[in-house]
């Protein structure tokens, strides 16, 4: 069973950090915000089903709640947002939300989406070769799911029954391109059958549903039962990034309808208003501290950009 209190703490913290980053980016204080609002239940749901630091995660860029669950601190999140040296994923080399931490077993995420899907399969295969029972969680968007290499990755993982889980976070859009122009199947989970793996569709706004499906798939993978494809439906409440204008391609009432099923509020309802409020207040304070701390961090020495192209 999922610890709802814990899940809520992660989700509300992700939401507060997200709102703050959006405002800061819009105010020109940072280069780039990648909103997670609407995806918080997916990240919290799967991350709490994994063994943090033991299992591997090849995350989707909207998985801020999962990063927090796995041990990335709010200050580190903000250091990455402000592109400062204390950014644990890239030391400010990559824009925000390109996660990564070897210590926390979070794969480094690059720009071209979703190139990390094949990496996740290699990691899962490597874990088996090394005789370790860790599972690899591989998350990506519905847009990413249309790329050819996702097919290559899922096919290989299924052939070798590798210990991994594929999770499509389906928010109905790849930036402006709607689902109907991306795929003809009604649910992306149907594709699992084509690879010979189980396919599951869950409500990605409901952290308990996500967690239950994740736990099931992770247990199966760990037990040698091979990969699963999970499709978690959700909605991106803001634009694609701070550089996007979603009013050009999404009807305003669509977001309003989905807001009625806001994953954070949904869980607050189950938790009770008082317990939720205590967590909200503390999350707000943590987010404010993290932003102030990160913005005050010094920049790197420009010469440091020359490091790390090769070893040594």
């Amino acid at each position: 069973m999922i610890d709802l209190e814990r899940a809520y703490g992660l989700m509300t913290l992700a939401r507060r950090l997200d709102e703050r980053m959006w405002g800061l980016a819009r105010a020109g204080k940072a280069h780039f915000a990648v909103p997670c609002a609407g995806h918080e239940a997916i990240g919290a749901g799967y991350a709490l089903a994994l063994g943090a630091g033991h299992d591997f995660v090849a995350p989707h860029y909207r998985d801020l709640s999962a990063m927090l669950a796995l041990g990335v601190s709010p200050r580190e999140v903000m250091a990455s947002f402000f592109a400062r040296p204390r950014d644990p994923s890239s030391r400010g080399r990559q824009p925000y939300a390109h996660w990564g931490s070897k210590r926390l077993r979070i794969l480094t995420l690059g720009g071209p989406q979703p190139n990390h899907v094949t990496h996740g399969v290699g990691i899962a295969w490597g874990s088996r070769l090394l005789g370790e029972d860790s599972v690899t969680w591989i998350a990506f968007g519905d847009g990413g799911a249309q790329k050819g290499e996702v097919h290559e990755a899922m096919n290989f993982a299924a052939v070798h029954r590798l210990p991994c889980v594929f999770c499509v976070e389906n928010n109905l859009y790849a930036q402006s391109v709607p689902a109907r122009l991306q795929h003809a199947v009604t649910s992306l989970s149907q594709r699992a059958a084509g690879y010979g793996m189980p396919g599951v569709a869950v409500d990605g706004m409901d952290v308990e549903q996500v967690h239950a499906a994740a736990k099931d798939a992770i247990d199966r993978a760990r037990a040698g039962g091979g990969p699963t494809l999970i499709e978690a439906s959700c909605y991106r409440f803001r634009a694609n990034t701070s550089n996007d204008d979603d009013s050009r391609y999404r009807p305003a009432d669509e977001a309003a309808r989905w807001r009625a099923r806001d994953p954070v509020r949904l869980l607050a309802g189950r938790l009770g208003a008082r317990r939720a409020r205590i967590q909200d207040e503390s999350a707000e304070a943590v987010a404010a501290d993290a932003a102030a701390w990160a913005e005050a961090q010094p920049w790197d020495d420009p010469a440091s950009a020359l490091e790390h192209t090769y070893a040594g």
Binding site: F56, P88, S89, S90, R91, R93, Q94, H98, G100, S101, K102, L107, T108, G110, G111, P112, N115, V117, T118, H119, G120, V121, G122, I123, A124, W125, G126, S127, L129, L130, G148, E149, E152, A153, N155, F156, V159, E307, H308, T309, Y310, A311, G312
Partner: protein, 483 residues
Amino acid sequence: MARGEPNDGGAERQLTLVEAVREALAEEMERDPTVVVLGEDVGLLGGVFRATEGLSARFGAGRVVDTPMAELGIVGIAVGLAMRGLRPVAEIQFADFLHAAADQLIGEAARIRWRSAGDWTCPLVVRAAYGAGFRGGPYHSQSVEAFYCHVPGLKVVAPSFPADAKGLLTAAIRDPDPVLFLEHKLTYRAVKGPVPAGEHVAQIGRAHVVRSGDALTIVSYGRMLHESLAAAEQLADLGIEAEVLDLRTLLPLDRPAIIESVRRTGRLCVVHEDTLTMGLGAEIVALAAERLAGELRAPPIRVAMPDIAGIPVQDPLEDALIPGRHRIVDAARTLLRGSRPARSAAAYDAAAAEASSVVEVAMPEEHLERALSAVERACREFPVCNAEFTWDGIKAHDAVRIDLDLGPRAPCRGDGTFTVTDFGPGSSALGLPAVRPGQTAALRIGAVRDGAAWLALTVDHRAVDGAVAGRFLRRVKELIEGD
């Protein structure tokens, strides 16, 4: 003059290049259980070039994995293995198919260390067979090195000799960064040489002087390195000692070794099978221009594949396109023009009793490749000129083999069916060649003056009459001058 391969100790046997690759893979798999081999047909088949033959039987299907036909997936999954701490060696059957995986190699493998500020690493090896010359056509013949040499974070290795194939592949597998390991498919079996038994690790990033000389520096790698060595042999017959530098690693480039050699010789010729524009030659010539401008005694020359969109499968077309020893000799002679006293070839050019005719032909100083293919074609069209006179009749040879005579110190190899003499700049403008035993005709190309040269044809009059000789000569002229 030619130096042997480095001997890093251990007993040496003669192995072909593909055997050396196989030995490196087997020894590294034996030494390190994290080394895994993946790719199309690498298991039971042993790879289409047999580089992985026997590995599956020895190390099991768990470490030698036949993958689906999906190059992007192969490299992407190998990147994941490498990030996980394994030492994957992915085989891409033909370098031409590497383009399908370019995003993973360029955008991911090469950048993982940098983008994570050293947190994650990607010690991956991608092996691929490259190169033309076996009628593979436009999709099984490409040289792809220039694309990948433009990728900081990647290393690109291209051995020319079996010992280096073993030593550098071993080093690549142990390297902490991703390495693209390019194996020229025509060297797999044609190149054989001593290879140290047991552990043999060469250093990535180091070029190697395989022949020393003082007249010019020829920089090359892979199969073209062997053409360069053959050209150097012919040049030596002319008294020109060429230094031949085997790059071995293309990225990072061994700049000090190139500069050191070119500074000494003052003349640079870069030879690659890859196309000319933006090829490795451009970078190497730029290096010489930046660092040695005042010390160069002639403008550098690049000998490369012309900028064509594909390698044709049709035999004479492919043969004509691949740079060869004659183009390299031409380039060397151009580099050395005016640098040595004219050598008189009169003593050698004894007029024979046979019938001769001459014609003037427009041609540039670099003409060997073109002239030889013109003569070859004319020989096919006039079999009587590619024949032998016997008292039982005229016997046409069944193949055309041109024996090239480059000067008094360059004796013909003696196994030809037709002889072409070309003493190059500094020789006399007109001289008559002698017909050799077993042949019915010989052609001499005089020194080029003002864009033209005299061709002289001598024939064995018992086999070839004057009219035929005249038509043959006109045909050669037509083929050389035509486009």
